[in-house]
């Protein structure tokens, strides 16, 4: 290591609270750091607040009548907490939202065109498309058919490709593995890892599928009831017995002591 200064994280989120409709407190002081060029996972069960965390970062909260009521979010050192979603995309944050929402009545090619930044020249856009079709050869084959008729895996690839057109420095993905066969999850995660390595793009990955996610990220956060309850390297999380118990499907048998310890801590935290 020859860095003189401590590298600044590309994203840092400090004690962020989010309110929906001015009453519903969905996350209660979440702090997450994404170091430059790293892949980070955000794990947790249904309703934990994972999607809300991503929306707070991408600015999509506003569309759902949510707002950040406390804390701050910094991207490359700039406070982006109150910024419009489109300005954040311009800065290099792109959020692949939950449920592979491709533009169904557009072709994959048009989906990519729709996401092109306003200043991008036609030749740059074409080069960008070719690069994306190289990452996802399945999309290239179906580039001119209606996106609504693509398979679930192809739609997820398209949603990721569409996000890549915006030239993100930080790519955030909300449960890209949802409803996909294990081999497809492996394929998509493999491509994400490749993009991360080739282009140094930082990735924040939200997953319920902790097993798959912890294979490709360097670090993970566990969110429960709107709070971060655990944070560590992927190795540490994988070997943590609580994580094994609840998110990795058993692990080394049931350790009753650990379960009790876990629920006790949960009560203490909430």
């Amino acid at each position: 290591m020859q860095e003189k200064v401590e590298a600044q994280p590309i994203l840092s989120m400090n004690s962020v609270e989010v309110l929906y409709d001015n009453v519903m407190l969905a996350i209660k002081g979440v702090s997450v750091q994404v170091p430059q060029g790293e892949m980070i996972a955000l794990l947790g069960s249904n309703g934990a607040g994972k999607s809300t965390t991503l929306k707070a970062i991408s600015g999509l909260l506003k569309a759902e009548r949510g707002r950040v009521s406390r804390g701050e979010i910094k991207f490359e050192g700039t406070d982006i907490t109150g910024m419009l979603a489109q300005n954040r995309v311009d800065m290099g944050i792109c959020h692949v939202i939950e449920g592979r929402r491709v533009f169904e009545h557009l072709t994959p090619d048009e989906n990519l065109t729709a996401a092109a930044p306003t200043g991008m020249s036609r030749s740059d856009l074409n080069a960008e498309k070719e690069k994306i079709y190289n990452y996802f050869p399945r999309l290239a084959e179906r580039r001119n058919s209606l996106s609504g008729y693509l398979s679930g895996g192809e739609q997820q690839m398209l949603a990721i490709g569409r996000a890549l057109v915006t030239q993100p420095k930080l790519l955030m993905l909300d449960e890209p593995s949802l409803g996909l066969a294990p081999f497809l999850v492996a394929e998509i995660f493999g491509i994400l890892q490749k993009i991360n390595q080739d282009e140094g793009m930082s990735v924040l990955l939200v997953e319920q599928n902790a097993l798959a996610a912890l294979e490709i990220v360097s670090e993970g956060y566990l969110i429960e009831n709107g709070r971060v309850v655990m944070n560590g390297t992927a190795e540490a999380l994988k070997s943590n017995s609580d994580i094994q118990e609840f998110y990795l499907g058993g692990g080394e048998g049931t350790d009753f002591h650990n379960v009790k310890h876990y629920s006790r801590r949960k009560r203490w935290l909430s």
Partner: protein, 295 residues
């Protein structure tokens, strides 16, 4: 059967139908970019006609200048409507936005009535009313001009929706949230669609104003325009053109058969029947996009 007479009915019906298309293209533009049927298009068309009159007859500008100027003003008005009335509704249920467009229509009608009164004024485009014959068939020149305008707009918008901006508008209609997520300005896109529809409203207002005079009745074009747009498929420009021609022919030929039987007024019935049957039998119209359901 008199074939010449029948084809005269059909051709004039088709030309009138293209004028319905001219109106309906405005509806389709907004639907294509926001999935909202714009009930204020009739009001906008009337305002478009009044603005042309204000610039030409009242301010004394020549028509060739007044019409483009009115188009520019209406373009701005379209953006303004999005900014003031629609922005806060983005992402809300479509029925709320629909009610807002209805409110806008009432507002526009009230405003024009207050400013320009209720008496009918003429557009005086200067298109000749000399008979014009296509072979043996008599057609009206103003209808030919209007049909030409409709077809030019059709071609222009077909090209537009293949351009990058046009694709972004179609993306917005598909999914607001996904559009925001890739940095598309949904607000500006919806504003642009209203602006373009307002320019179409000037074209429709000038042609229809020449045909039937400029007064409150212009806003009633909404009923036929909506029928054409629904029959065509609401989000299809091609659909609006084809459906306009079809409705125009059915209406003209049908009325000729039915009017003697029912003693007049069958045109309205034919239009109503087309709208009701379309919604019952083919809710996506002739060319409309379907909701995609994969199994």
């Amino acid at each position: 059967m008199d074939w010449i007479f029948l084809s005269e009915l059909a051709i004039n019906g088709a030309l009138t139908g293209l004028l319905y298309s001219l109106f309906a293209i405005g509806l389709v533009l907004i639907y294509k970019a926001s999935s909202v049927p714009n009930l204020a298009q009739g009001g906008l068309t009337m305002v478009g006609a009044y603005v042309v009159l204000a610039l030409s007859h009242d301010a004394g500008l020549p028509l060739w200048l007044a019409i483009p100027l009115a188009a520019v003003i209406m373009f701005g008005l379209g953006f303004g409507i999005e900014r003031v009335a629609l922005r806060r509704l983005a992402g809300r249920p479509v029925v709320m936005i629909l009610m807002m467009t209805l409110g806008l229509d009432i507002f526009l009608r009230g405003t024009t009535l207050a400013i320009w009164g209720g008496t009918s004024r003429s557009m005086e485009l200067g298109v000749s009313y000399e008979p014009f014959f296509l072979g043996d068939i008599f057609v009206s020149r103003i209808h030919l001009v209007g049909a030409g305008v409709a077809i030019s707009l059709f071609v222009a918008f077909m090209l537009f929706f293949r351009s990058r901006t046009g694709i972004k508008l179609r993306a917005i209609a598909d999914d607001y949230m996904a559009s925001w997520s890739v940095g598309i300005s949904v607000e500006r896109g919806v504003g642009l669609s209203w602006a373009l529809a307002s320019v179409v409203a000037v074209a429709a207002g000038v042609i229809w104003g020449e045909i039937q005079g400029v007064d409150q009745a212009l806003s009633l074009l909404l009923l036929k325009g909506l029928t054409v747009a629904v029959l065509g498929g609401l989000d299809s420009i091609l659909g609006a053109v084809v459906a306009g021609i079809i409705l125009g022919i059915i209406e003209n030929v049908g009325a000729d058969f039915l009017d003697p039987l029912v003693g007049g007024g069958s045109r309205e019935l034919i239009v109503a029947a087309v709208l009701i049957l379309t919604v019952m039998i083919r809710p996506h119209g002739l060319f409309g996009r379907h909701d995609i359901e994969r199994v």
